[in-house]
Symmetry: C2
Subunit: 342 residues, 2 copies
């Protein structure tokens, strides 16, 4: 497909055909435990609906990204946007302790969007679905003023769902995945530190972590198998998402600043921006990392990919909330749509 | 909630809380056949993902409506838009012969959208889900320049899926639901014949059919039980959707103009607009009726809600397509995104 062909030139039917051709079957990911994955897909894109063999309980979640708010076409390649849409949605499935299986994607876009942008978006979606052991099984294309992409992810549970409301005093709070990398990458981009051939590797990897996050999906099912009492993915920042578990569970979560030390790449990025104190804020409040934040009963053996970062406490007479070293954090509490938004 | 409170005033969390409160459990619709509906919902909105007990094969589909393209806030009430989003998505589930069970909805909207618009949208979604025996189980809210709403519907199959590619020569083509009502309602609106207290009832009902379609969901499972060989819902017009079955099945579909006579309300609307010849075009090419268009093997007993409108023929050396009385229809072939679009 030539670069200057628009969606309007191609038309809906051929665009869909060229996109569907990209959604190959994912290699079956080995299960964390239990029987091998059954043959899942019966009917994929091309009929009124996809038909899936999903053994057991089904987990489903939806999430939207909007051009100008959640990504900029000047910063993100279409592949990046595809990875991001898939990652946001599939991480919600993993955070229930479920195995991601399928993704549906709806693209609303202006008619003058290059058709190749849409097909490369499909490449990014397909790539991240493969990482998660899932597959794109359906979608929709509509016309709109701006690019709006909604994903809906489905997964299956092999054990009871790990909800937000199961944390109990005495539990260990632990995380798998990076904290603050996405926020650091965004700060670098906003500081015009766009990665090029001469950029240090940490700049490239942090910017990539922001534009195309790669969540640790398997950690979700591993936490479930290890007996996790509560879990969430860090989409709005560690403190805000920990507070969601605290409120849902009626407990206090106390995070340990001694083990939440910013890693070298975040410190280097903050220094490069001339704001060395910012790295700690990225770790505590930066959104869109999609790390798995879980609570484990006392005595649990944490899965290898998790590190302990705090404790669940009785809230006593105080509010259910997340604190750091026993006191509320003074900085921003994370991202809130419509309130902090542009 | 006061009328002048915007999404930005309310904030994401309280808006979601007031919307979730509207999504009550649907009364269990009696099954078309087979055992009573099992208890489906385990965890609804409020965690990372909804958990559903969906016995058997799962059918899933997604569809988006965009302000300015698929609806206008000057014409549609927010309830109308909610009904339309639910109907478009749930009809795709019914058209596989499945039973609609659940809907997820993503709303992208400007911060100055009245919050009450969003809660009334939720009322419309909830109302049409109840009609279909389904429930809203999850969603997402984001900021955008225009209102973009994506629904994702899930259903369960009690028999094999009724696909588009199963029509065979000799089958009867039949339809359940109205044809052309949505197109007639749109034509009335575009002719400034907006219903008011003095409008004849057919104006009100046709405009309502356009703004808030009410598909015959049960007809989908009834067609499956009666042995339907192929099925689709008429979202892009009878001829275009019949052609989709024809192409997928490698057959020719011949519709009978003698039984596709425009009903009185369409004739009256066309006369009121001074274009009496237009009514037949609405029946053959009008989109968004979401009627169930199905093929049945010879000798089938059609479900009571279906009427025969044509035959499936061998295509011989000719193309797989849909014709009327043996010849291609001269008018528009229905709606194509990006091509016919604004």
């Amino acid at each position: 497909m030539k670069d200057d062909v628009s969606l309007a030139d191609v038309g809906e039917d051929s665009l869909i055909a060229s996109i569907v051709a990209r959604f190959t079957v994912a290699p079956a990911a080995p299960p964390v435990a239990g029987p091998a994955r059954p043959s899942m897909i019966n009917i994929g894109p091309g009929d009124d609906a996809a038909v899936l063999d999903l053994p057991g309980q089904v987990v489903v979640s939806t999430d939207t990204v909007v051009e100008g708010y959640d990504f900029l076409r000047t910063w993100s390649s279409p592949q990046d946007v595809g990875v991001k849409v898939a990652a946001q949605n599939l991480a919600d499935i993993a955070a229930m302790g479920a195995r991601p299986m399928a993704l549906l994607v709806s693209l609303a876009a202006p008619g003058d969007l290059p058709a190749i942008w849409a097909t490369r978006l499909a490449d990014g979606l397909n790539d991240e679905c493969h990482r998660a052991g899932a597959r794109v099984v359906g979608g929709d294309i509509s016309q709109a003023v701006e690019v709006v992409i909604t994903g809906t992810a489905l997964g299956v549970l092999e054990r009871p769902a790990v909800r937000r409301d199961g944390a109990r005093p005495g539990d260990v709070v632990a995380v798998s995945g990076s904290l603050g990398s996405s926020a650091a990458g965004l700060a670098l981009l906003m500081g015009h530190l766009v990665p090029d051939a001469s950029a240090p590797p940490f700049v490239t990897s942090l910017v990539e972590a922001h534009l195309a996050p790669r969540p640790p999906y398997r950690a979700g099912a591993e936490a479930s198998l290890a007996g996790a009492s509560a879990m969430i993915d860090t989409s709005d920042g560690l403190l805000r998402d920990a507070a969601r578990i605290a409120v849902a569970s009626g407990v206090r979560i106390d995070l340990d600043s001694g083990v939440l030390v910013p890693p070298d790449d975040l410190r280097l990025a903050a220094e490069m921006l001339g704001r060395p104190d910012e790295a700690r804020g990225w770790v505590l409040t930066g959104g869109e990392d999609h790390a798995m934040l879980a609570c484990f009963p006392p005595g649990s053996v944490l899965p290898a990919s998790f590190r302990a970062i705090g404790r669940v406490l009785d809230r006593g007479d105080g509010p259910a909330r997340a604190v750091v070293d026993g006191v509320p954090w003074g900085g921003s509490q994370g991202w809130v749509h419509f309130r902090d938004g542009a």
